[in-house]
Symmetry: none
Subunit: 237 residues, 2 copies
């Protein structure tokens, strides 16, 4: 049973949600989360396009924000064709599938943006890594259902060959909620200390710091350590 | 330039031909042949669904029979989810892509049947091998565009050398001296703040923090940011 979650952020057309669901179930991916679907939920157009896929799935979960949708996730992959002004590892769907399937007790999320605009920067920034599919550079736009299909397909194949993969990894990332809590604390400490001098640069600076810390796949134990570090630094002078 | 040909036999809906064309061009597969398309050719619904893919392709060729469409092909793969009562090698899309790409001067065809019925036995029979995609056994029906996508995607990846797929991102870890300098500063800040309560654990704790920060492949720019963060935290309370 796959423990991966597919998250669609601000999906617009019900048809695309249905096509994504069908592609997921074709490859035994049964957990779908929708963040703020434009036309509400449930959605008749989605059901019509799904060929019955929703009946095979776990219940579709609805969230207001990506932050909430990621709270119990350990490793999140942002899918985007566009390179971002942020420092994150970029992997192919295949690499993402192969590395994510190694963590049996960890939940992985694959995050997809809205049809036209893709993932917003502040949503991509919440993710650990970026998935960019290798495509024809002159014609690279995939629709949502196709993007989901490619990732679901790779994940399914990786799951099937998982028994031969060494599942022993020595550190596992903390759930995102723990990270977010740490990050809020760090951010307010930085604010108190006058770190954000140029208010207009604050979002970008914050994004870069988040990215840097997320990239390390910080564990629960390390988050505890980090809290201690912040406390200590605040009481030093 | 790919020398593979995608052949759709008796395709029904123009929309599906358009979706197949789009998926092909996404993965630089530019040769499409249609055998006896139900609604004739050209087809407005196909054009509308293609997102302009036909403009990027070689001319679409139309044939009355699969036999004619295969005339100049060296190796043909029949795609079907259903096992056939015939003795042929059955391969996955990935295996087909990997083996077919080795023959530079040989033309390969990937043959897809009609939407509802799939390939007829007598058409599948004309092909050298069968491609069956690994799918969820309880929900295995892929639509035509998705089937084409999977094969085109695998073919594209096989065509590219592994080294060119992974375009590297432009972040380079800082020189170790910069990191060590940052780390000393962090460590003395922590010491001032009473972070290291258990002196005997200090080496291990220090090692863990170092390893967490190093793991992210921290850049020079990020090290500057981190210095600023330490300064700010120290002046907050």
């Amino acid at each position: 049973m796959s423990n991966a979650v597919f998250i669609l952020v601000n999906p617009q057309m019900g048809e695309n949600i249905g096509a994504a669901a069908r592609a997921m179930v074709n490859f035994s991916q049964l957990s779908l989360r929708l963040v703020n679907p434009r036309d509400g939920w449930p959605n008749d157009a989605a059901t019509a396009m799904s060929s019955g896929a929703f009946d095979q799935m776990n219940e579709v979960e609805i969230f207001d924000t990506l932050e909430e949708a990621l709270a119990d996730i350990h490793t999140a992959y942002a899918t985007t064709a566009r390179p971002r002004d942020m420092v994150k590892d970029v992997v192919t769907p295949r690499e993402a599938a192969e590395e994510s399937v190694k963590s049996q007790n960890q939940r992985t999320a694959f995050v997809f943006g809205a049809e036209r605009t893709g993932l917003e920067n502040n949503d991509a920034e919440r993710c650990h890594k970026i998935i960019t599919a290798p495509t024809n550079p002159d014609f690279s736009s995939l629709n949502l259902g196709q993007g989901v299909l490619m990732v679901a397909y790779e994940r399914f194949i990786a799951e099937q060959s998982k028994s031969t993969i060494n599942t022993n990894i020595d550190h596992e990332p903390a759930p995102m909620a723990e990270f977010d809590n740490l990050f809020s604390r760090l951010e307010s400490g930085l604010e108190e200390g006058g770190f954000f001098r140029e208010i207009s640069l604050r979002p970008k600076v914050t994004r870069n710091i988040r990215s840097m810390l997320l990239r390390s796949g910080i564990t629960s134990q390390e988050i505890k350590t980090f809290h201690g570090m912040i406390k200590a630094l605040k009481s030093s002078k």
